[in-house]
């Protein structure tokens, strides 16, 4: 009760006269000082034209909206947690189930090679790395369609939404990585071949490349889906297809001929191989391949951002 009374008192009397002079005057003064400067030409802070420049990525605006990235991330996390019984446990259950299914189907039944690694670890390493990329891609690819309501009513830097999705997925990846490391330790104690190597230090680089790939491809798709709805369904299918051209199910070393080239063309191939080399001790790492993936990611992000900004200007007219 006393608290409520205090609030009332504050807002009733003090607020109106208080805030305005204290906080408004400086900006007004600054502006007047600015416009009274050398020329009478007023300086505009915002100019809206029909078309923006192609490579104007408006990074400054994005930087100003960085709090939104954090808030969206936190909103999604809280909402996800509140609506389920198991909550964050899902982060753990999902990769575990996938790994078990893969171990049974590809390992026990199909007897695919695993570079001499324990099957469980082999598939889990692939799953954990792939999930971060695929999750980021599929989630960001719905940016426009899923947020049509909000985007139609209020303007804020739109890229904050896909960036917050990257962050959410990064948390999931972190949790899954810890789980994976737990299993690695267990298998090492059991005396299997798996061992962490110095290549594990490459992890931050791998994460950045994966994030770039997921974000870049995701926002390219999200920009295109505003016009071509068919792509929504294609993405889910396409991501699955892509998975089979990575060494997630069978190691790169076991493949030769044309198929090997197809796998090498997939920018996620070198990531998964490097990830395995780092944490399990077996996998192919070559600098050109990693550079290829990094270049691919960079291109995708830039192309995506350009397309994204194109579409965001008139997207509300097409949905």
């Amino acid at each position: 009760m006393p608290g409520g009374a205090a609030i009332r008192h504050d807002s009733g009397g003090g607020m109106t006269p208080d805030i305005s002079p204290a906080r408004v005057d400086p900006t007004v003064e600054a502006r007047q000082a600015g416009s009274a400067g050398p020329s009478d030409e007023p300086e505009w802070t915002l100019v809206i034209r029909p078309k923006g420049r192609w490579f104007d990525l408006r990074l400054r605006e994005l930087w100003q909206g960085r709090e939104l990235v954090w808030l969206f991330f936190w909103r999604d996390f809280v909402a996800l947690y509140k609506q389920t019984i198991l909550g964050p446990l899902w982060y753990v259950i999902q990769p575990l189930l996938t790994t078990i299914v893969f171990t049974v189907v590809f390992g026990r039944i199909a007897h695919l090679p695993t570079n001499g690694l324990p099957q469980f670890l082999f598939y889990m390493s692939g799953t954990v790395a792939w999930t971060y990329f695929a999750g980021s891609l599929t989630k960001t690819s719905t940016t426009f369609l899923a947020n049509a309501q909000i985007f139609g009513k209020v303007y804020f830097p739109r890229l904050t939404v896909p960036l917050s999705i990257l962050l959410s997925n990064l948390v999931a990846f972190g949790i899954q990585l810890l789980l994976f490391l737990g299993f690695v330790a267990y298998f090492m104690i059991k005396g299997t071949d798996a061992h962490v190597t110095v290549w594990a230090l490459l992890l931050p680089v791998l994460i950045v490349i994966m994030a770039g790939l997921g974000l870049g491809l995701g926002i390219i798709v999200s920009a295109l889906t505003t016009k071509y709805r068919d792509l929504q369904y294609l993405v889910i299918f396409g991501v699955q297809l892509l998975m089979y051209t990575t060494p997630m199910v069978f190691p790169l070393s076991s493949v030769s001929g044309t198929w090997r080239w197809v796998m090498l063309a997939n920018p996620m191939t070198s990531i998964i191989e490097a990830f395995r080399r780092g944490f399990l001790g077996a996998g192919t790492i070559t600098a050109p391949l990693l550079l290829y993936s990094a270049g691919f990611a960079l291109t995708a992000v830039i192309l995506g951002a350009v397309l994204f900004h194109r579409v965001e200007r008139t997207f509300m007219d097409t949905v």
């Binding site: 305005s20 909402a79 804020f156 007219d317």
Partner: protein, 419 residues
């Protein structure tokens, strides 16, 4: 005073129908045809490409030019589809103009709809931060204002409850409060005042007025002539995407209403009716000072309500009209017997009218209910036959319109110094 918004030749074209064919295949084949310089395969045989390009488009805004001064409150009115909302959307950067340039100075905040982005699972406090950030407030800014926001919305005790458990009234109040405490140099507002109960609407109006008196520039789009009149001094009337009037608010409203030429609103499809012969009331139309209008009357001027009826029941006909305020309180109820309408033997179909020589309703939103009786038995009754907005006119004959909350009625009076 300097110009803070400058709109130069802004147009916005919408393509009607399916955009760009909608399928990848269609667009690809069109593109391929263009590469080979063949005619567009998806056009009808006789159509030329040019007609296809210019054909099914709608100019929501057409060469709009406007300058808004610093600290000015500018009202924007127009019929549905006149381009009001499109103008605000373009200004708030939700969508880009097709041509033209807009220049603005200062931070722009827009209130196109309250509660955008509220998440039902989050608590009131969490939503304040999220919504505030979306509207462009920093976290520090929200933290500074949160007490005021909460007090204004009156949701103090429920601040840490998920908003999905809020009543719709609380939800809307909180949503407005967050937006209402956004303090940009330029504020764009679209019809948001149509939220909450009467008391809260008055509170919102007060808040908006507050904002304008503090040197902020406000662009206010509304259907409610009373609040437009209350908040703004200058008015823009949009007609089919073009600016048809810029000038003093009162003059603008009168001109806008005079251009009305509305058709009568039919009551045929209404199902919310009672009586022995539903459908006997056919339509209702309003005339202000002899000019047909949509839904807005002006206090001080004559208002004529025309009722078209068609019945098969014999006997003496009586007509009833009631005025309800926004809280659905019946504030006036009149009938044709009181004023001695003689219509015996009455024609079974026709038009009757009820004229109020000098409308004494205070500015605000009302609704009209109609009923028709034959020999004392109700044939047809439609509650909310039409909405009635009342704008302030020169009721007192002094040419002055000051006042914030007029209550429900105006009456003739004069003040005098007695000693």
């Amino acid at each position: 005073m300097s110009t803070v918004i400058s709109i130069e030749g802004v147009s916005k074209r919408y393509r009607l129908g399916v955009i760009g064919g909608g399928t990848l295949h269609g667009d690809l084949s069109r593109w391929w045809a263009r590469v080979r310089r063949n005619p567009d395969p998806s056009l009808p045989v006789n159509a030329t490409a040019r007609r296809g390009a210019d054909g099914d488009t709608l100019m929501a805004l057409h060469d709009v030019c406007l300058e808004v001064e610093e600290g000015e409150a500018l009202g924007v009115i127009g019929r549905n589809g006149a381009g009001k909302s499109t103008l605000l959307k373009v200004l708030s950067r939700v969508t880009a103009p097709t041509s033209g340039t807009i220049r603005m100075r200062g931070r722009v905040g827009s209130l196109l709809e309250v509660g955008t982005g509220f998440h039902p699972e989050l608590t009131g406090r969490e939503n304040i931060f999220l919504n505030g950030a979306m509207l462009g407030m920093s976290r520090a800014e929200v933290r500074r204002k949160i007490d005021d926001i909460v007090a204004f919305a009156g949701v103090g005790p429920y601040l840490d409850t998920p908003v999905k458990r809020y009543s719709s009234g609380m939800y809307v109040r909180l949503a407005f409060s967050v937006a209402g405490f956004l303090e940009p140099e330029i504020l764009l507002v679209d019809e948001v005042l149509a939220v909450g109960d009467h008391a809260f609407q008055q509170q919102c109006l007060g808040r908006m007025k507050d904002v304008t008196t503090r040197g902020r520039t406000v662009l206010f789009v509304s259907h409610n002539m009373a609040s437009i009149q209350n908040l703004t001094k200058r008015l823009v009337v949009l007609e089919n995407g073009r600016v048809s009037f810029v000038g003093p608010t009162t003059e603008g409203i009168q001109r806008y209403l005079a251009r009305g030429a509305s058709v009568s609103s039919s009551l045929a499809d209404r199902t919310d009716r009672t009586g022995r012969e539903p459908g006997a009331l056919r339509s209702i139309s309003l005339l202000v000072d002899g000019e047909p209008v949509d839904d807005t009357a002006i206090s001080g001027l004559p208002l004529k309500v025309k009722i078209e009826y068609d019945t098969v029941s014999p006997g003496e006909l009586q007509f009833f009209m009631a005025v309800y305020d926004q809280l659905d309180r019946r504030i006036v109820h009149v009938n044709s017997m009181q004023t001695g309408l003689r219509n015996e033997p009455a024609p079974r179909r026709g038009v009757v009218s009820c004229t109020i020589p000098r409308l004494a309703l205070a500015p605000g939103k009302y609704s009209l209910a109609l009923a028709i009786d034959a020999n004392g038995e109700t044939l047809d009754r439609v509650e909310r036959a039409c909405d009635l907005f009342v704008a302030m006119g020169d009721f007192f004959g002094t040419g002055r319109h000051e006042g914030a909350d007029w209550g429900l009625f105006l009456f003739d009076h004069h003040w005098a110094v007695e000693s």
